[in-house]
Symmetry: C2
Subunit: 424 residues, 2 copies
Amino acid sequence: MSSPHVLILGGGFGGLSAAKALRRRPVQVTLVDRHNYHLFQPLLYQVATAALSPGDIASPIRWIFRRSPNIRVLLAEAASIEADRRRVVLRDGADLAFDFLIVATGASHTYFGHDGWSAYAPGLKTLEDALDIRRRVLLAFERAERESDPVERQTLLTFVLVGGGPTGVELAGTLAEIARQTLRHEFRSIDPAQAKVVLVEAGPTILPAFPEALRHTARASLRRLRVDVREATAVTGIDGAGVMLGSQRLTAGTVLWTAGVAASPLVRSIGAPLDRAGRVLVAPDLSIPGHPEIFVVGDAAAFVDEAGHPLPGVAQVAMQQARHAARAILRRIDGRPSSRFVYRDKGSMAIVGRGAAIADLGWIRFSGFAAWLAWLFLHIVMLVGFRNRLVVLVQWAMAYVTLQRSVRLITNVERHEDRDERTG
Amino acid sequence: MSSPHVLILGGGFGGLSAAKALRRRPVQVTLVDRHNYHLFQPLLYQVATAALSPGDIASPIRWIFRRSPNIRVLLAEAASIEADRRRVVLRDGADLAFDFLIVATGASHTYFGHDGWSAYAPGLKTLEDALDIRRRVLLAFERAERESDPVERQTLLTFVLVGGGPTGVELAGTLAEIARQTLRHEFRSIDPAQAKVVLVEAGPTILPAFPEALRHTARASLRRLRVDVREATAVTGIDGAGVMLGSQRLTAGTVLWTAGVAASPLVRSIGAPLDRAGRVLVAPDLSIPGHPEIFVVGDAAAFVDEAGHPLPGVAQVAMQQARHAARAILRRIDGRPSSRFVYRDKGSMAIVGRGAAIADLGWIRFSGFAAWLAWLFLHIVMLVGFRNRLVVLVQWAMAYVTLQRSVRLITNVERHEDRDERTG
């Protein structure tokens, strides 16, 4: 009898952790991703802000599993999951049969029904998104340098971040640093330091997952960088001229969106009940109702812990859930029952700017330079692949010393403008 | 009286050298480029073959001149040169007046009248070209892994390089190394080492600029990497199925073009006589007939030295000519006559693979590991900007030790496929 076939959809933190847990185990594994690389999402904002190259935060999935003969990597996009037939249909029409399935397809951003906003306020989920944001930000300064009308110039130099979660805060702090420090001395008609960075959060506070004392520190750090933080302020419209905050217009040349995420639409095809964000309501062992051989993990799953709290959409949750699902599959093959998933919260961190971060590890809370160093260390250790780690370390060290950002390239402008024309 | 305005078109080796020679001199300089970065062209093939990131070989032009208050950098594309009116019209309709003009707009690839070939055999001149080639090469292996028909699979694993100059030789050697070394162990259905790499040169020999003894060494190095070198073989057709060599078809999934270059079409608008490759026939001082205030340098110029030989299209020529033009302008401002340009050939180098290169410095010729080290050293020293240099060094050192390539990302696939549909 050949070994059972485990199909894993998605090569993010979840899919990668599941495949690693199944290395050299008595299963055949196929890992499918629509990209040929694993993306280290927590550093994506550094690509968007020109500090790192795409290659620094991405590793070919194939390379990661080169020494795992039972793991096969396929570059393909899943189109639908046929739970009853135990098959996944690929976008190109081929299909893959499975004995066990782990769905780890993550999330994309959502505009809460305002899909038209996406053309004016791109989100940050993929490498392409990051390069698009990098292009928009750098082009804004270039266009301002050539603009003679002072009002239009200030519009070009106004950046609005919608969403006050960790990504919004990281982007706001970094954009302010770029304007005030990186670009100093480089322009002849404008003073980049005059740029306005506005961080808008609809909820009562930025960084809601953190305790108020740390949020207070984060607000102070942002204020030092002259970021205009507007909490309890809902965005009611976005167009080519800027954003509407209630009935007040905020004119801005660049608007970036970090406000909403929804599960990847693929999971709808499973036929299991979903929550409002489109995530699959999973059983305590992370399988779906009626299909103990199908597991959903990470951002694609809605899991409520024993205290009744939904788990956050972070890498830690995806990795722990993926390992749990992999173990559950190995137990099932051995004829043992699966167990309930229990999340072990190792804490959270957010970075506000150069040398400033906040950390809440549960047993200790700290901020400032120490938190920044801890953040740096943790992220370097977590980065997949030794080469990437070393290069990232060199780039960060140089950026810290020189205040520079080494990847300030505006690429793909023509292609992008083509696309703008087509999308309106 | 305000200082004379020197307009420089192009931020390549020529434009950059001209601007540097005019730093802190009694002139106002405007440097116009359609990209915001200077591209270190000699290493572009390393981006195309996934060894370096775009950011490693590109520096923002603005950053290079941040401490040169008399130099203004504009991100814009020149549409035409109106020599008599002393104006350059930009693509967006604005125009720039000048007292002196240095045209350093370089070259793009040409298909010798077969423009239809460009869709099937991309060239390598820009960062976008390099990312396109990287995508095609990596996708070929991914598609072969999913292909069940053995004939189709071998087609996907066949790579044809058209053009046996340094770039063609570098690409051929590197592609062979990727197939035989980098990708080893990573695929489950194909053996990447079965890939066929064919280097086709229409002229009697590859690397015509080098002495035959060094060419012999290069051919031997390519043979060791199992590159199929076909000299005196003209390509008579290119389509989606491969290339025609005379009446013989060579089926190939990937065809890359390094065979022909032509001056950028902008120079036609000057109204000066051109050679067959569209380059401006310049006077001995590099100015154009009837316009002593307009200079053309680098790949955009056709200059014949005292021995009657046309100068090659390499960085050294562009840099020396640009400095000569800048000095000629400063002399003219001082009321002194301009002098004849004399090229000082410092020699040429080509790299064939890991640890193998050839070098002809005039007074000495050598090859093998020593030449490769010399090549490495020279290119690291030449790279603009300290940060880039350090990162490139780290990546190279790691690549040499691990046989790996750190930037194996397939990006922009969707956008690219959109474009394919539109261009046919």
